[in-house]
Amino acid sequence: MKKNVIGAGIAILIGVAVPLVFRSYWLHVAIIALYYALLASSWTMLAGFSGQFSFATMALGGIGAYTSALLVINVQLPMWLALICGALAATVVGLLIGVLVLRMRGPYLALFTIAFSELVRITLNAEYQLTRGDMGLTVPHLYTTVSKTPYYYTMLGLLVGSLLVMWTVLRSRYGLFFRAIREQEEAAAVMGVNVVRYKIMAFVISSFFAGLAGSFFAHYIGTLTPNSMMEIPRMGLLIAMSVIGGIESLAGAVAGAVLVEFLQEYLRALEMWRFVIFGLALVLILRFSQNGLIYPIYQRFAARRVEPRTVADAEA
């Protein structure tokens, strides 16, 4: 517990110091890495802690991005209000999907969300009068400066704040319900957990953070296209980030996202082959080390003295 706080403090300090070391291009990479870190941790909260597998995280991020962008462009809404509206739009969509699909057990959420992602992509491409489709929608920037430093600190703040909220939820009794549902739905139901309600709750919270990440991304990057934002392979990359970091740890998701994003920039010379490597890493890690790569290393060194763990006390 105490170690976690110290670890998080060190991580935040490193995060704050990044703009002092990295300039323009690599700072851009760092911002994108933090954006993926938020998406990956929202996915991890849902998949790793609640056992519900969704392939719609990128699509929900896209809904947040387009909602916020279109509100600013067409209704001239203030930027910060549009950002919140973007996140709320993703939340509402998440709630609708949850109510429709999470009543059932089994692979229905995965089946529906993968189809839903394509539906969103097709719709955004088809309504090109509004979204400009693949030509790209030009979105007003959040700040007027060309410097990337303000964006970096905004994204870092969003990420830290979001992680704090997710961590608090997961430490609370709701987090306990989520984990109970993950372990065995029947048993959780017998113990009095309203399984459907808490599955939906986990999905809605996760959708909110995906939408938040997406709407910030829109006003940072400045150009949106449906394909680059929410193609299925991108969802695959996001899952690879979470899995490499360790699917049952928020810190792991952040570390995995940062690692994979920097690696994929560093390995640009390999062109498409770097994604083959990530794909291979994803399946091999799933097959041979289900706790990911980073989390077991962390456990080995940082948390060597393992306290007697109870389910309620499991690290979030």
Binding site: P233, G279, L286
Partner: protein, 299 residues
């Protein structure tokens, strides 16, 4: 009226291709009790294998279809052996989750591999039979006719194997009760391997058949994959009869819906979205689908 019949025929041909893919997915689900999220990518692999067989080695494209089915069968057997077998030996906790992630991960791996190996550009496979055939007022591309007959032949052969042979009986036995099948001496690992191989080979065959009609590309598997998910939920998870009827239904809905429901330009753009709406309606009204029993989990 003429236009309606022509569109209906088109829908039927597309539906037959969907049937090949969806039957494969349904077969895998009924025996292995998992959804293969790499199914569309197996379809794409089949398309590329048959494309290279016919362009590089000059093999007749129709024979290349069957060769590509064999290749994809072997690929499926390998996938099953290396990645899915642990599900049935007790080596994996939380099996449902592992099954979703590992098959999805394999699909992403195949997509990226195909992007790197074959390039992102679309390719056109060789015709099975060039020209068109006119029947009364209908004019049909010969490729589509050949594809329909081959697809029907494959489906009939498969139904014959499943319903009339000993292997088919073993497949059905394992799908009903893995332990009971093991007691009477059926090697369920071998049946798993066979079901997964045959299932993805059907998707591969469909991909190879799609080649000459539509263009092929590394991303071509995503939509057929998603449509086969829609179909097996619509028809009932694990039901082969449901998969066939669901496929024909979806083919017709897409074909007719795109011209009668919306204005034509929008209709074409949204054609691929009908399946998702259909999926939402099925999940809302009757989640078990047309012929489905209650969802069966992995033990």
């Amino acid at each position: 009226m003429d236009f309606f019949v022509a569109q209906a025929l088109n829908g039927l041909i597309i539906g037959l291709l969907y049937a090949l893919i969806a039957i494969g997915l349904s077969l895998i689900f009924s025996v292995l009790k998992l959804v293969n999220f790499a199914h569309g990518e197996c379809c794409m692999m089949g398309a590329f294998v048959s494309y290279y067989f016919s362009t590089l080695f000059g093999i007749n494209p129709l024979i290349a279809v069957f060769l590509s089915m064999v290749v994809v069968f072997l690929l499926g057997v390998a996938m099953q052996y290396f990645f899915l077998r642990p599900l049935y030996t007790g080596a994996v906790e939380r099996k449902d989750e592992y099954a979703i992630l590992i098959t999805f991960g394999l699909g992403i791996f195949f997509q990226n591999l195909a992007m790197s190996l074959f390039g992102p550009w679309t390719k056109k496979s060789q015709d099975f039979l060039s020209g068109v055939t006119s029947i009364g007022f209908l004019t049909v591309d010969n490729n589509r006719l050949v594809v329909s007959f081959v697809a029907i032949a494959i489906v009939l052969a498969l139904l014959l194997i499943i319903n009339k042979t000993f292997v088919g009986k073993a497949l059905r036995a394992v799908s009903q009760d893995r332990d009971a099948a093991a007691i009477v001496g059926i090697n369920s690992h071998r049946i798993n391997m066979l079901a997964f191989g045959v299932g993805v080979a059907l998707a591969g065959g469909a991909g190879a058949l799609i080649g000459p009609i539509f263009l092929i590309s590394p991303m071509m598997g995503i939509l057929p994959g998603i449509k086969s998910f829609v179909i097996i939920v619509l028809g009932g998870m694990g039901s082969i009869k449901g998969a066939i009827i669901g496929s024909l239904l979806l083919g017709e809905i897409e074909s007719l819906g795109s011209i009668y429901l919306l204005d034509p330009t929008r209709g074409l753009a949204y054609k691929n979205a009908f399946g998702v709406l259909l999926l939402a309606i099925v999940l809302l009204v009757k989640p078990t689908g047309l012929f489905g029993e209650r969802h069966v989990r992995m033990e």
